[in-house]
Symmetry: C2
Subunit: 283 residues, 2 copies
């Protein structure tokens, strides 16, 4: 894994980095994380990510020794030291304990930041999805590394040569294995409410703001698998891929009936980042 | 953490052991594990544990380079090298990959075995539980390290000075955060069926065998929180604690109405291990 890392006060090449077995992510998945897009020393939508990180730390009662300003400065410092121009920044806060025991009382915590080369490109081709049962837990609003159900669904997607798996609890579409999802129907955008069944994605929020800009009415309400299959367009959003239109689900052609609107929304998501990149890429 | 470890072909003191960040347990909880009781070089109920391990590896399509005999020999060898008489053996198989990506296709895997001093004692005092919503995923039959909901429930239990948390999906009791649970009512034992909502515990199976021995009819069917609160006895089972009777749930006195029967069943579970220990403790 090429890249650069900060771990508990020291800097390392990412390749060859080892983590003490006292890290409870290893035994329990007891960790929260964030993924950022970076340009030079600047993090795209830093405040939103850091705010979500701190909210998740609070939900799991993980005390972090840094405040928001300090952690932001530390991320920037790590990015600077990495010397990487455009990057993907991964941050993970785990709890640590000498003994393997379930309770998290009286544990310490550790902090990992990794910086790897990554360049967000505008999406040109429509992507394909498979549908998969959403068999996850009921803490989906917290960005933790308890990600095995997403691993299982993503593996099935890759086996089927698809790009992502769209998850449904019963008949209700929630989100994708590692993205949010929205549909356009009758020039109206629908996406699952940001409750404990989905991750409140930052690009999902950007999409809703893009709707305001484009005067597309939107509603945060659950929709069904059938509604999705018959939607005018289906938009998948994530930090690392911005917005992408869907062309196939389970091998069937979908969407393509509101292409102008779908493409405009995706374009806004990409251009917002491109503008940020323009402002910060000095390396 | 005092103890001894095998990791990917090498032996180490457990204290100070580090794991490469390419281990996907760290990013995704992409690992299965087993916990065994050990005496000298012998593992208690080894065949049952190894059989469950291989079943879980199959469920997640993790190929292990060893067959059952080889892994058993490796565990024994690690126990022997540890020089620890009575032990807790922890085994974890994780998937590994250079890049952090959700899909598990084209990943390698690694193997950790740790041996720590541990001595199973007969349970003398009744334990106390708290009730907690079962917010876990729907892969509870697979023993994976996606254990954050159990961490949350166990932490709440410890905060309340209780020994364990009993989980319920809606009104249905499933199991505890890291144990199975059964109730006695009218000289009949009830425990949740071994489906995807609970871990098929090996001590749970021993308990059902003990019922046969003690001529206690049993039924594998879900029971409710109210049925549990009004049960004659409540029995919590796990590898590391054998069988324990419950005295309190959420601060209310429970059970105590079929003490002879409950104690007999727990005694059988402990004595079965004690006999094994007698046969194997030569150190």
């Amino acid at each position: 894994m090429s890249g650069f890392a900060y771990y508990n006060g020291e800097f390392y090449p990412l390749d060859g980095l080892s983590i003490p077995i006292t890290n409870r992510a290893f035994y329990f998945g007891d960790a929260v994380y964030e993924v950022f897009l970076g340009v030079g020393e600047a993090v795209y939508q830093c405040e939103e990510h850091i705010s979500r990180l701190f909210s998740n730390l609070r939900k799991l009662s993980i005390p972090l020794l840094y405040n928001k300003e300090e952690i932001t400065a530390l991320i920037s410092h790590t990015m600077k030291k990495s010397g990487i121009g455009e990057s993907l920044v991964y941050l993970q806060v785990s709890r640590c304990a000498k003994e393997r025991r379930h309770s998290a009382l009286n544990t310490a915590h550790d902090l990992l930041i990794t910086v790897s080369p990554y360049s967000l490109k505008p999406s040109e081709e429509r992507i394909s999805l498979i549908t998969h049962d959403d068999l996850r837990y009921y803490y989906c609003d917290i960005k933790t590394v308890n990600l095995l159900p997403s691993v299982i669904a993503s593996t099935e997607a890759e086996k089927a040569k698809a790009d992502e798996a769209v998850l449904h609890r019963g008949d209700t579409v929630t989100e994708c294995a590692h993205s949010n999802i929205a549909i356009l129907k009758g020039n109206r955008l629908l996406t699952h409410p940001a409750n404990n069944l989905i991750l409140p994605g930052i690009t999902r929020k950007n999409l809703l703001k893009a709707c305001v800009k484009e005067r597309v009415p939107f509603e945060e309400r659950p929709f069904t698998v059938s509604e999705m299959m018959e939607a005018d367009e289906i938009i998948v959003t994530s930090t690392t891929r911005a917005g992408r239109l869907v062309g196939k689900i389970d091998g069937k052609s979908v969407g393509g009936r509101a292409t102008d609107c779908g493409e405009s929304l995706c374009k806004i998501l990409y251009e917002q980042f491109a503008q940020f990149k323009q402002q910060n890429l000095t390396l």
